[in-house]
């Protein structure tokens, strides 16, 4: 497979063959006023040495999570990425983005996707996983649309315990008006089962929740699964893949669609992206699932091969009937997740999850005992927790950055209702010494 772009000669030859004078002529159908009639406002070109120094200076203007001790989470987590992950995903055959439509030249990519899907199914307890979506938020929004297709109903109930950015993404998706979203306030940092039950009706396609919630709390999914199914609706659950190393998978509680932000599995935080949209469902609903699916089959000679399958759901086959307008996936991040899970293994993932949970609980208790923070919610949590700060959050965070700590997320930035709440995430990378130093700094505030 050659990935060589056209030369100027190639371009001239092609233009001559189709009978136009320039590339611009090919855009004659686009109205003049919709075309950019000036060069892009870019600075002058630089040489490589100069450019490298320039980019380095831009990068240095940021304080990144490796310069300080970070307790930031909220959907993007500071987990360790084993060296093998970068080594594998840097192979040019993987690193070059190419859609594996031609199985005869894409066996490696297709098998990588297939292995990723298989591991994600094991992790979530679900029967089918797609090749991935852009991030947890798009997976969540697509889950709402899928639930409507499956149930032939047009309204979803979304608990406000779900990440606000996931809910905003869903709101963007449904602007076209095909689906109605009813947001239902949470209670004690969890989904409010009674409030959700009160909203249930025969037009509701799904109850949509997350566990862990945006606040890090763990929800009782069993009650929600029964509630949804009794009403003929699906249960959609957002989860955290690392926690699945120690938690019962959502499938156990009757979840019909399980989505997650897969960034914790081998992708760097990278200032918030790219992420990895994990999307899984039950086999019965496979044909309504968005996105790609890689499958394993045998060729005419009986040899094992990998292909994209169930492609009639996709827009490159039938645009007007497609289950989603997403025709791509985050293959490199999915590969990273596959390599990560292979590298750490079942026991390793459990160990990582246990370390995260233990360290988070240690820090939570210690921060509460400083008297500066109090518990916001009584519910159990995984490795992220929200505390109420007694004082000015922004000022506290400024002070602590100067002392080498990202002191959690100020939840006032997400909702005025959450003013005063700070969300802390503690991953396996944090050491006892770092936690104790941080508690010391908080006590000295």
């Amino acid at each position: 497979m050659r990935f060589i772009p056209v030369t100027c000669e190639d371009q001239a030859h092609m233009l001559a063959r189709v009978g136009v004078g320039s590339v611009d002529d090919l855009f004659a159908d686009v109205p003049e006023d919709a075309r950019l009639a000036r060069p892009l406002a870019l600075p002058e070109p630089m040489g490589e040495v100069e450019l490298s120094a320039h980019l380095m200076s831009l990068a240095k203007a940021n304080t990144d999570a490796s310069d300080v001790v970070s307790f930031l989470g909220g959907g993007c987590y500071d987990h360790y990425v084993p060296a093998v992950v970068d080594a594998v995903i840097s192979k040019p055959a993987f690193f070059t983005a190419y859609t594996p439509y031609q199985p005869e030249v894409s066996q490696g990519t297709l098998q990588a996707i297939y292995e990723y899907q298989s591991m994600i199914c094991q992790l979530t307890g679900m029967e089918v996983a797609n090749a991935s979506m852009y991030d947890g938020a798009t997976a969540f929004a697509e889950a709402a649309l899928m639930a409507c297709r499956v149930t032939k109903r047009q309204r979803v109930l979304v608990s406000q315990s779900v990440h606000p950015e996931w809910r905003q993404t869903l709101a963007t998706y449904v602007e076209a008006g095909t689906v109605t979203v009813t947001e239902v306030a949470g209670a004690d940092g969890l989904a409010d089962v009674e409030a959700l039950a009160a909203e249930l009706a025969d037009d509701v396609a799904a109850i949509m929740v997350a566990s862990p919630t945006f606040y890090g709390t763990l929800d009782d999914l069993g009650a929600l699964g029964e509630l949804a199914h009794e009403a003929g609706a699906l249960l959609v659950v957002g989860t955290n893949p690392i926690l699945l190393g120690v938690m019962e998978p959502p499938a156990t509680y009757g979840a019909d669609i399980v989505v997650a932000e897969g960034q914790p599995l081998g992708s760097p935080m990278s200032y918030g992206g790219p992420g990895l949209g994990v999307f899984t469902c039950r086999q019965a609903h496979l044909r309504q699932m968005p996105g790609r699916v890689a499958g394993r089959t045998t060729d005419v000679d009986g040899k094992t091969g990998f292909v994209l399958t169930f492609s009639t759901r996709e827009q490159h086959i039938r645009r007007e009937k497609a289950t989603s307008n997403i025709c791509s996936n985050h293959a490199l991040n999915a590969l990273a997740a596959g390599v990560y899970l292979s590298a750490v293994g079942r026991e390793g993932l459990r160990g990582i999850a246990e370390a995260c949970v233990a360290k988070a609980h240690y820090l939570e208790a210690a921060l509460v005992s400083t008297g500066r923070f109090e518990r916001a919610f009584a519910a159990p949590f995984g490795y992220e927790f929200a505390l109420q700060y007694r004082g000015d959050v922004a000022e506290m965070q400024r002070t602590l950055v100067a002392r080498g700590f990202f002191a959690g997320l100020d939840l006032a930035a997400f909702s005025p209702d959450d003013a005063g709440l700070v969300l802390f995430a503690v991953t396996e990378k944090r050491t006892r010494a770092e936690l104790d130093r941080f508690v010391g700094e908080v006590s000295a505030l």
Binding site: R287, T312, I317, R318, K321
Partner: protein, 127 residues
């Protein structure tokens, strides 16, 4: 290939009339063009249907096609067995591979359909 007791339409559906109920499926030609059928998506019994409406789709290893109803009425029965054995459409397009049964609201609609000879002539024309 094309039973004489059936009526056919230009979308390659066939209709078998039994009193005021029409059984609908796809023709030998249609299943042959599709290739191995892997999935049939059908409506629910009780749904109303109008002539020309799509009532589902049939998917094969190489493509997917809409199913059009040649008649109007109420869907009274759906061949749920195709869920687990869609390949029956290839094996027995006029028998166990049937798709839906419709209680006719306008039996005259069937008169406008082709008989077996007419359908074969139509196929020859199309080829």
């Amino acid at each position: 290939m094309y039973p004489k007791d059936l009526k056919y339409d230009r979308e390659h559906e066939w209709v078998r009339i039994d009193g005021d109920v029409a059984t609908i499926g796809i023709s030998h030609f249609a299943q042959d063009q599709l290739g191995e059928v892997v999935y049939v998506d059908l409506p629910k019994a009780g749904d109303p249907i109008n002539a020309g409406d799509t009532f589902g789709e049939v998917e094969s290893v190489k493509s997917v096609s809409e199913l059009y109803s040649p008649v109007s009425g109420e869907i009274v029965e759906v061949n749920d067995a195709l869920d687990d054995a869609p390949e029956t459409v290839n094996a027995e397009p006029y028998g166990d591979g049937w798709m839906i049964k419709v209680m006719l609201s306008d039996p005259a609609e069937v008169d406008g359909m082709m008989d077996a000879d007419g359908y074969e002539a139509f196929l020859a024309e199309e080829a």
